[in-house]
Symmetry: C2
DNA sequence: GTTCTTTGTCCACTCAGAGGAGAAAGTTCG
DNA sequence: CGAACTTTCTCCTCTGAGTGGACAAAGAAC
């Protein structure tokens, strides 16, 4: 199939595409209710979109008490690729233009192997999805990387946990390989984008998404737009001091949040506790698996292990301490907790909530929900697809 | 004089008014260079503005190698009132439409006396400026208050340091008294607005302004727009924890930044030090003035007093600690330090810089200037005038 | 079948804005 | 001083986006 080359010619067309993406098939009349255009003008723009092939006719809708309407919808053959590169695994998904996930693969990987190796893996995963008949090609791709990105160019900058990626032209390279437009962003920003449009933050304009995975980061949405900062490093909260004179961090300072709580820190602390005989439960799991992960701690806590529970509570306290500061500063309408450690669930959330509600002023916390993300491991790839679709569904 | 009632009828007119405000008198040709309109359309809009009286002819400009141009400018009789209510004093200023300060009064006051008393004082100060011939009336007024504001309504909400103001309809009351449109905002936001357009932040889109006065607060500018948060309390950083298990704060928690450093905290600490005989210099000043202020500490430090210097350094360290966290999170392009304690000058700035550059990651601090505000005590009133002018110079 | 409702198309009209011609008012240079 | 060039500003025509109403098509309600 020939891939999509057309782009909306004006703001009206862009808006119509977005309505069809977010609202599914629609009649001209329904579109008219949402778009503040005369019916005549609307019909013209819809006809032009039909000509481009971005939009296709979709039969007759049921009557609403009068003549039945002719529905239109986004071309069901459009395909977007969403890629979410984490520190230790990659997610790749195919969506249609309405951003429904048609196929999704996750594979372990080490981002430190560098861009060339990782790219090879991503491309083979994309090829696998294509081979399974889900897509003949891609009309656009979004990709998230676990570090700061110079957004306009789509290039990672000075990423601490992914040496070798600094300055690697991710956007251009992937665009070349896939033959379609590509947008690159930080993984946490994509998670925020996902939760904003398909998840728990659907009604919010100003909110934070704290992703606790191998590391820890924060997505910031201001006025409905992802905020990336002056150099693309906004939301880099892993190295805010959570514990004065605390643990030594890889960044050179002491007491960084990430050194005290993250997937990696939790696994480390649990292993220490097991080795020191503080918890039989954890020691058993260490024995059995040859190592401990955040999931082990979650399981131990669920089984009633006090040490595991303490670790989670203490981590939640540190995290809550930092989030409390951000809440005072930013006054968000919602805080979403996501990432790999959401398996820790309610225990973690309770510890964070307690700390935030205690430390921030009532005006900021009065009506502030702190909740878990709704999309789990798909948040990143959905956000990635959203990113490229926002780009393509805006005036050229 | 009849006060201005007209408003720009469309976005073009609004843009033209803003250009004339920020660039002074201009010819049609010069305006055309900045506004991306055909000369014919531009002429039409300028003529309409002339009809409204917002803009007046301003004679012939010097030739630039051809026919001399007819300049136009904002009506020089337009007057804005800028009011900056602090915790312990009020500033009131009159500006013309180009936001040049024509007159400025500062008077001591205690905001805790409540809105009625303070209003009376503000109105009498405004009357004094009017009586001195600077204005026959006001075309708009901006007012800043030292606490959170529900911005659309212009009403303070739950202000901790100004009991009695909660819910007081500042905007409506002042508008009634002055007979002109009024906008209300937090004092720190106005300071940010002032520094953004007339001060040190002129080229920045994303920056922070930390105001250290009686209390401590932060103005946040995102994409050139002041960010106020979901409930109007964004930037309320005085109660972020700077010292774990630190001093008891009035808010009920321990170790809040404001409890460790602010004009009030500094005066308190200096008095304690003087009473405990730690500094003869400070003790002398305490004796002489019957009390100590931040200015006394500044003077003592300038005279070489080690205790005063230590207090400043320690305060700068606490402040820097908090700012470091904000810098990691927000990744601003500039941090401006302002407010009453800027008299502490270089010593304070150095302590803050040291702490921030040490604690935040290089990508965020790499090219991050941390500077003192440029406008000093006029930042607030200039920002206030700017606020109302932005409102009036936008499409009705 | 008649009447009412909803949907979609067609067409005439309005209006913002572009762009060119040309007049007005200067400067520069031989 | 006069001719040629420049800049500014006005006027007039033309275009194209968009509106709104008339009308046809298609179905529901009675």
């Amino acid at each position: 199939m020939r891939r999509m080359t057309a782009r909306p010619a004006n703001a009206h067309q862009a808006r119509l595409l977005q309505l069809l993406r977010d609202g599914g098939p629609n009649s001209r009349a329904q579109l008219g209710d949402q778009v503040d255009l005369s019916r005549s003008k609307l019909a013209v723009e819809v006809d032009r979109l039909l000509e481009t092939g971005l939009v296709v006719a979709d039969g007759l809708a049921a009557s609403r008490g009068g003549r039945r309407s002719h529905n239109v919808r986004l071309n069901p053959e459009l395909r977007f690729l969403g890629v979410d590169i984490g520190a230790t695994s990659v997610d790749v998904a195919v969506t249609n233009a309405e951003l429904e996930i048609l196929g999704h693969i996750n594979q372990p990987m080490d981002v430190r192997e560098g861009p060339v190796a990782v790219f090879e893996q991503v491309l083979s995963m994309a090829a696998k999805l294509r081979a399974s008949g889900l897509a003949e090609g891609f009309d656009g791709a979004g990709i998230g990387v676990p570090g700061p990105v110079r957004f306009p160019e789509g290039v990672p900058v000075a990423p601490p946990i992914m040496p070798g990626w600094d300055g690697f032209p991710v956007r251009e390279a992937l665009s070349q390989e896939l033959g379609c437009p590509v947008m690159v962003d930080n993984d946490v920003n994509l998670m925020a984008l996902g939760e904003q449009h398909a998840g728990v933050a659907r009604t919010q304009h100003d909110f934070l998404v704290v992703k606790i995975g191998t590391g820890i980061g924060c997505g910031i949405v201001v006025g409905g737009e992802v905020y990336r900062g002056t150099t693309g490093s906004a939301g880099d909260i892993g190295h805010i001091q959570a514990v004065p004179e605390g643990r030594q961090c890889a960044c050179g300072n002491r007491g960084c949040l990430e050194a005290h709580f993250s997937g990696a820190a939790l696994a480390r602390d649990a292993t220490e506790a097991a080795q020191q005989g503080q918890s039989a439960e954890l020691a058993n799991r260490l024995e059995a698996n040859g190592g401990l992960s955040a999931a082990d701690v979650a399981a131990a806590a669920a089984a009633g292990d006090a040490t595991a529970l303490d670790l989670i509570r203490e981590g939640g306290r540190s995290t809550g301490q930092v989030i409390a500061g951000l809440v005072s500063f930013f006054n968000p309408g919602l805080v979403v907790i996501g990432g790999g450690v959401t398996g820790l669930g309610h225990n973690l959330l309770a510890a964070i909530r307690t700390q935030v509600y205690r430390q921030s002023l009532p005006l900021a916390t009065g009506n502030l929900p702190i909740v878990l993300g709704e999309l789990g491991p798909t948040a990143g790839v959905i956000g990635a697809a959203r990113l490229i679709s926002d780009h393509l569904f805006s005036p050229a």
